[in-house]
């Protein structure tokens, strides 16, 4: 006899409002229904009532972890409508901030995954490392979460001494290589909790059009930083890690390898940062009538903004946001099918879901 187990909207394994109704037979999940919208904020509607300064601060609040990415994507779209291009130094600073944010997100996720595995020591280790990343972000921007770094035409703050940050990146990488990555990739605890569970097949990943590490862990070789480079990514050398298994362990591997690649990109961006101004365009902008789109590879996958403006207006006519979790979350239904009930918190966490983004 089948029965329904609701997980969420308030569940200790989730800690953000979202509901997964699982139809089970015994301990095995047969199917699942997803429910979102518990904290829907109507940010797209609000954006239509904000001027070109306010809308940047508003969209920074779409996500707590990748707040920089959201303003970067928005500003890139607005720059297209204002006919501006951020100067080279600003493009490099954008790469530095985006990669630091990726490190922040991946280490935070690793900590939460460790906690869901019952590996509390690892959780503490990851969160201590995350603090180091946030220290670097704070050293650059003055803020730990919402950095207020992006503006139309560039960035608000310079990186005064880029080479001084290289040591911090080296420290981070050393610690990742010494503890986090070996434990996650070789420990029997991590293997027994992650290998072969929550499988998203390559075919299903294509059908669901998943993005980011979730796609790359199912054998889809896509990354906007390489395929459609923005900011200064065209000048960076890096690999795109791809795994084939499609299980939780593959998603763990992809993120672990991406941490190393992020450190590599950071070192290049800090060492090669050109001199010059960090913003163009002054304080007043003239936007043309039209629509512009922009895409950025966020830690969880592709973010896309469509921004529409009417000439002479101070506020956008329309801002549409497609966040990566919005693309990835429907695939959870296929990941939990056939899984043990006890594995489902870890499976849903393996896509690194952001409910704040989804309920934008």
């Amino acid at each position: 006899m089948s029965y329904k187990i609701p997980m969420g909207p308030y569940h200790p394994g989730l800690e953000e409002p979202y509901k997964l109704d699982m139809i089970c037979e015994g301990e095995t999940v047969q199917d699942a229904e997803l429910h979102i919208g518990f904290n829907f904020r109507g940010i797209e509607h609000l954006a239509e009532t904000r001027n070109y300064f306010q809308v940047i601060a508003l969209m920074e609040r779409v996500c707590g972890i990748c707040s920089f990415i959201h303003t970067l994507t928005l500003c890139q779209a607005m720059e297209k409508l204002a006919g501006l291009e951020a100067p080279p130094r600003a493009q490099y600073i954008r790469v530095v901030m985006a990669e630091l944010e990726r490190l922040h997100s991946h280490v935070l996720w690793a900590g939460i995954a460790a906690k869901l595995m019952g590996f509390k020591t690892m959780f503490m280790t990851c969160f201590a490392l995350r603090e180091k990343v946030m220290d670097v972000l704070q050293a650059i921007s003055g803020n730990r979460v919402n950095y207020s770094m992006n503006r139309v035409g560039g960035v608000n703050r310079d990186v005064e001494d880029p080479l001084a940050l290289v040591n911090m990146v080296d420290d981070l990488e050393r610690e990742m290589m010494r503890t986090v990555i070996p434990i996650f990739t070789t420990s029997s605890t991590a293997r027994s909790r992650c290998a072969g569970i929550g499988v998203l097949t390559h075919e299903k990943a294509i059908s669901c059009a998943v993005v980011g590490p979730t796609a790359r862990a199912s054998g889809i070789n896509q990354d906007l930083r390489r395929d459609a480079p923005y900011a200064a990514y065209a000048e960076m050398k890096f690999e795109v890690p791809v795994e084939q298994a499609g299980d939780v362990r593959a998603r763990l591997f992809v993120r672990a390898l991406e941490i190393i690649e992020s450190c590599r990109i950071l070192r290049q961006a800090l060492a090669g940062m050109p001199s010059g101004e960090i913003a163009v365009g002054g304080d007043k902008f003239a936007f043309i009538t039209g629509t512009a789109t922009s895409r950025v590879e966020a830690p969880r996958g592709e973010v896309m903004y469509s921004v529409s403006w009417k000439e002479g207006s101070r506020n956008p006519a329309r801002v549409h946001v497609r966040t990566p979790t919005y693309a990835n979350m429907p695939a959870v239904r296929w990941m939990v099918r056939g899984a043990r009930l006890a594995d489902t918190p870890l499976i849903q966490a393996s896509i690194d879901p952001c409910y704040s983004c989804t309920d934008r």
Binding site: H35, I36, G37, F40, G42, E44, H45, E48, T49, R50, N51, Y52, F53, Q54, K80, L81, S148, N156, I206, S207, C208, A209, Q222, L224, D227, A228, D283, G290, T291, A292, T293, S294, R295, E302, M304, S306, S308, S313, R314, N315, A317, R318, H320, R322, Y326, A327, P330, D359
Partner: protein, 152 residues
């Protein structure tokens, strides 16, 4: 043959791709959105999203469908005069949530599919978030940036 030309051949259209601000646009002409979705599946394009715009007055809506093909961002705009258009959910599973969201926010019906439960809110009222009443007075303009905002 590039992937974009290959796609154009699959679509059977003579319209050219037009690049504008980083997006490759194609006027679908007489093609239906389902024909486009089938061609996208055939060339392996990845569905991204649908962006809905309400046209002024009672003119209807413009739905911009976006796919990614080998890193190219594709845009295909469809203007709908009324309140309904064909769903591509059965051809493109990834369009499920965005069709449900647009149905909810603009009260546009995607025919050939069901809508329960609603994605973002409880109840059965639709068109309450982003859809504007053409008879309503225009929205007030956003305030001009103050000196504090400019200074920041």
């Amino acid at each position: 043959m590039t992937s974009l030309e290959n796609l154009r051949e699959k679509l059977g259209t003579v319209e050219p791709w037009v690049e504008s601000r980083g997006t490759w646009w194609l006027n679908p002409g007489v093609l239906s959105v389902r024909e486009v979705a089938r061609a996208m599946n055939a060339v392996g394009a990845r569905f991204i999203t649908i962006t809905a715009y309400q046209l002024p007055g009672a003119e209807g809506f413009r739905l911009e469908y976006h796919w990614d093909l080998d890193g190219h961002l594709l845009g295909l705009p469809f203007v709908i005069a009324g309140n309904s258009t064909q769903s591509i959910f059965d051809l493109c599973e990834a369009a499920d949530w965005i069709e449900r969201e647009i149905h909810e926010e603009y009260s546009i019906d995607f025919t050939g599919r069901e809508y329960e439960p609603l994605l973002l809110r409880k109840g059965d009222k639709t068109g309450v978030n982003l859809r504007e009443d053409p008879a309503a007075p225009p929205k007030p303009a956003a305030p001009a940036p103050g000196p504090k905002e400019v200074a920041q």
